[in-house]
């Protein structure tokens, strides 16, 4: 392909011949190749369109549902475009989720947790990448173990551990407070933290050693070198780890259910939205009214949209950071 172009540029006289003449000159190879090229790109286009549509379709469907008035939901002729446009679903879902408080709670919890996680993981990752110490391989094997061991295996005993937390002889019930989770994050045992350590270490391994040496020669201690030289250099990987940790924390229900039960978070509120809607309807109409399935489905969809909307906005703005820095680590084992 590139060769053809070069020839064209250097000798524009070739261009004057028509396609068929050139085809004849090449014994029909040109025609074959052109047909092949277009066939492949059409095939690829269809395939990609289909797959992208498959991923996007549930969101489009939810958006459509969220703007329908109740009577539209029972009309079988309406599939995607609502006939009676209404914002009532959004209002109800916002009310049920207690959206303002929940959004604010989720925001600060996610930011706090991911900042702690990323800070601790980058310290540990740096330690693994630059220092030689006895049992290094063993400890790194433990990091891999942390990636592989699912938290569900230890959930039972963590639950009991923090339910009857022993501190200086007194038994405390730490369930419902944020303290246990913060402690776990400080110890790099939060959600998928092993993965972040692995990624950050991988990044530092490819980082030039000379910068550090220069810092040492100029009289920086290891900690100062890390803060002044390495952290600014590792900005891309740290931001991408932060983004991942933010998103995963936002949608996480496992740790949130286990430790943060008392704080109203989007992921937990969302699980109960249908039941809440049933209660809301029966209060509104008096007596026991069973919430219609289609209607509660619309409310659930709206709730899900409300939950992922901030994430999608974040993704649109930080898309490059998400993808590029993950690719730059060159994950390998």
């Amino acid at each position: 392909m590139t060769k053809n172009k070069k020839v064209n540029k250097s000798a524009p006289a070739v261009e004057t011949r028509s396609f068929w003449e050139r085809n004849e000159a090449s014994n029909g190879i040109l025609l074959n190749e052109t047909i092949k090229k277009y066939a492949i790109s059409i095939f690829r286009g269809i395939l990609l369109f289909g797959m992208c549509f498959m991923i996007i379709q549930p969101i489009l469907n939810k958006i459509a549902l969220s703007f329908m008035a109740e009577r539209d939901l029972y009309d079988t002729t309406i599939i995607l475009v609502p006939k009676h446009f209404s914002m009532s679903n959004w209002k109800i879902a916002m009310g049920l989720l207690n959206y303002k408080t929940t959004l604010f709670n989720t925001l600060w919890v996610s930011i706090l947790v991911s900042v702690i996680e990323v800070a601790m993981c980058s310290v540990v990752g740096y330690g693994f990448s630059r220092f030689q110490f006895p049992f290094k391989r063993f400890w790194f094997f433990c990091v891999i173990l942390v990636i592989v061991i699912p938290p569900q295996t230890i959930s039972t005993s963590l639950f009991l551990h923090f339910r009857y937390f022993k501190l200086f002889g007194a038994t405390l019930n730490l369930r419902g407070s944020m303290l246990p989770y913060i402690m776990m994050c400080l110890g790099c045992m939060g959600l998928k933290n092993g993965l972040y350590i692995f990624m950050i270490r991988q990044f530092f391994m490819g980082f030039p050693f000379e910068l550090e040496e220069a810092a040492y020669v100029d009289g920086c201690g290891p900690l100062k070198t890390f803060v002044r030289i390495m952290v600014p250099g590792a900005k891309p990987i740290i931001t991408s780890c932060f983004l991942f940790s933010f998103v995963w924390q936002w949608t996480d229900s496992f740790y949130s259910n286990l430790f943060l039960g008392k704080i109203q978070l989007l992921s937990i509120q969302l699980t109960g939205i249908v039941d809440k809607f049933g209660i809301y309807l029966s209060k509104l109409n008096g007596g026991s009214v069973i919430a219609p399935i289609a209607y509660s489905n619309a409310i659930l969809s709206t709730g899900m949209l409300l939950a992922i909307l901030p994430l999608i906005i974040l993704y649109i703005f930080c898309q490059r950071l998400f993808v590029e820095s993950l690719a730059s680590t060159g994950v390998k084992m």
Partner: protein, 303 residues
Amino acid sequence: MKKKVGLMGRRAVYGYLFILPFILGFVFFMIKPLGQSLHMAMSEVVISNQGFQLNWNNFDNFKKALLVDAEFNRMLVEAIGQMVLRSLATIVFSFFVALLLNQKFKGRTLARSIFFLAVILSSGVLVGLESSNSLMAQLKDMIEESGNANSITEVLEQILVSDASGVNGISSKAFKAVFEIIDSIYDVAMASGIQIIIFLSGLQNISPSMYEAAQMEGCTAWESLWKITVPMVSPLMLVCWIYTIVDFFMKSDNKIMDKINTQMTEMLNYGFSSAMAWIYFIVCMALIGLSSLLISKVVYNYD
């Protein structure tokens, strides 16, 4: 004493200082609960106001899970089978998509960002929400009943799967597996976001001069796919395989995880639920270990 430590010794101490948070966390929040949960799995947990007591009862919980409980064995086998099938499908799918997205065409950035959107949409609570809801499950059943066999794939599936003898020596089980994957293609696509990124970064690291050299020697595109691309990204297959299995293992819409959670939070059967978790965990570890051993034998390591 201080003089004897030397530079290397000081570096080692600093190294330990840097990874200290991890060591502390690992010991207190991983090893300790892990040991405790193993202990719990082998004993009867009695909860009182003062705290909880563990009464040793040998392997009763394990026996109960494997021999007494009616559905656990069946669920375990089903979950493992499904895990292997889905993970294979995810690897193949994400490799294929990465190949497509690595080519140059119009709207590539858009296509890429849509595929990576799956990373966000498939995380945490969002996956299981619709299926875990009892009302939604009813709705699904109703829809499935009302729309029986009016799509081409469904008719084809009925013909192929119900035929006990199979077609051309291929047993109907194989067809069933294929149809299972096709039916769950949405889940597969949603689960393969990270794997696509990993494969893409691997593909971009292959130097184009290799393909050029192969083309000069008369390699077709198909041949260079198998002779260059697949060996060069094969180390990443191992990473993706492990990641996919672990991801599947941890999903909350998993039937076994569901059973373990209900046993723990609703029935307060802490010992029994730990035992089940341990059995599941050990089986999965064995699976990961065996398969990564096999894959690492096959993988071509170029550095």
